[in-house]
Amino acid sequence: MAKLLKVKNVAYYYTAEGTRIRAVDGVSLSLPAGKALGLVGESGSGKSTLGKLIAGLLKPQRGCIYFAGERIEGKMLPSIQYVFQNSTAALNPRMRVKNLIEEGLIIQGKYRRQQRINRVLTALKAVGLPETLLYRFPHELSGGQKQRVAIARALIMDPRLLILDEPVSSLDVTAGARLLALLKSLRQEKHLAYILISHDLAVVRQVCDYVAVMYAGKIVERGKVEQIFSSPGHYYTKMLLSAHPSPDPKRRCLPKIIGEPVDPSHIPAGCRFHPRCPQATFACSHRPPAFFEITPGHLVACHRTQTQIF
């Protein structure tokens, strides 16, 4: 199948307070049209930076990004849209809902007034908001409504890829659940591709077809959702899964978790996860692991998994 998005070995470094930070350090991935990829990892793993690189908000120092066959590093395309984590900050507080959603069309300048309004109404309906909100200001909306306006704002550009940065983390549980349901149905209706960035594996589980687990600027494991969730290959993925609190009191466990999320200014040598890995060996602290395909389409970058399989 032709890939809509191909990311090849991209890297993004920056300097903060005199230390060089390798936010994204050689990441490759691909995504077919109409599919959803979940990017998971702790804070500082580089998942948001990767999202911004794909969106063109940042320009990678190294590597290529292809979208529908074209190179797009550092370019912002109408067909790739980014929905920001904090919808309160992502909506200009001085603009009304109508203008917020309409803005992309005005910039494009392709449509007349009436056409624009029709399209705004369509987008509003698509995200499940009533027309009565059209002339409200963002501060008059609930968290869920703001997030929907942000999505409508992106949808009006007719994107083929939507990058969603922590879409539900700032919402209440019930509002979050409804938004996830909306995201699922929107994808089918519009044949959209998603990149869903989240720290919460359960959220990714609800919406995505593929998962990529990031740690310290690198992808450590990727594959189909079922593969990752039923038979995680990397110890980091296992750690994340075990740390997820289940609402079932019968499945109580407070796992012993070693170490802290990696500090991107002090990335360890070898396998970046080795100081926190319960199974780390000598090789892990010296040689960065290569990807290894444990089952078709399921790649893991871990020395131990590789040796266990052979």
């Binding site: 912002m76 200009n92 803005e103 910039i107 704002r153």
Partner: protein, 276 residues
């Protein structure tokens, strides 16, 4: 937590005072019973009476009329130099904050240089170098009053620039012009409005001060500052001569400060958080 109503009363009192003072200034020819330039050697230094509610000065001129005409000068200087400094400050601050880098460094050092001169001293010096005149006073006060606005706008823009809604507009393809006009400007407007309101009294004060020192707008044009200067020698015998012009300086400056403070609270610019 600031009570919203407190801001309201301040604003209302301030703005009403401003309206009254402006009306007095605009309607001066109608309200003044006497020509402010008309001398009357017979009736010099008359205490306040029915004919002359604020008394007369050393040349027998009606102080009430002169105060009204003085209001025109003060308010003209205040508003015009405010407009000038807000315009300069806004443009420089926006450019520095938005584009950053070398331009930012240059603009900010320039701002620092203007800022380290005490404003009164700077205006005094510049007015002294050239011939004192009304337009010069306006020009000099406006031309030296912008650094505060520039710093404020820059700070505001720097803060707004990191907000996601700016990046979001960029994602939709907005250019610099659109981002500045539709996204930065409306959001920076509140603080600028407050700063603009507060730069009027600063200008009024400076003009009055410079005129009081004898270097601003020259007699016989009546200004509150030069009336006070004229009164200085008659303090012992004619309290009204100095009292009323000064009172009007105070009232005008106070009115704008009240309005500015009221606006600040009304716009929620005092950062107070409430959590639940």
């Amino acid at each position: 937590m600031e009570a919203k109503n407190a801001g309201n009363t301040e604003f209302l009192i301030g703005i009403s005072l401003i309206i009254i003072l402006s009306a007095l200034a605009l309607l001066a020819p109608l309200l003044a019973a006497h020509d402010p330039y008309e001398t009357d050697a017979q009736n010099w230094l008359q205490p306040p009476c029915k004919e002359h509610p604020f008394g007369t000065d050393r040349l027998g001129r009606d102080i009430f009329s002169r105060v009204l005409y003085g209001a025109r000068v003060s308010l003209a200087v205040g508003t015009l130099s405010m407009l000038m400094s807000v315009a300069i400050g806004f443009l420089l601050g926006m450019a520095a904050g938005y584009f950053g880098g070398v331009l930012d460094g240059l603009i900010m050092r320039f701002t620092d240089i203007v800022l380290v001169f005490p404003s009164m001293l700077l205006v005094l010096t510049l007015v002294a170098i050239f011939e004192p005149a009304l337009w010069l006073v306006i020009f000099v006060i406006g031309g030296t009053g912008w650094p505060g606005v520039a710093r404020l706008v820059r700070g505001e823009v720097l803060q707004l620039r990191t907000k996601e809604f700016i990046q979001s507009a960029r994602m939709l393809g907005a250019n610099h012009f659109r981002i500045m006009l539709y996204h930065l400007l409306p959001n920076a407007l509140g603080p600028v409005l407050v700063a603009a309101t507060l730069s009027v009294p600063a200008a009024v004060m400076t003009e009055a001060g410079v005129s009081y020192f004898g270097l601003g707008i020259q007699p016989p044009i009546p200004t509150w500052g030069n009336m006070l200067r004229g009164a200085q020698l008659y303090l012992r015998h004619a309290w009204w001569y100095a009292f009323f012009p000064g009172l009007f300086i105070f009232l005008t400056v106070f009115a704008f400060h009240l309005t500015g403070e009221g606006l600040r609270k009304q716009l929620g610019l005092t950062r107070v958080r409430r959590r639940g």
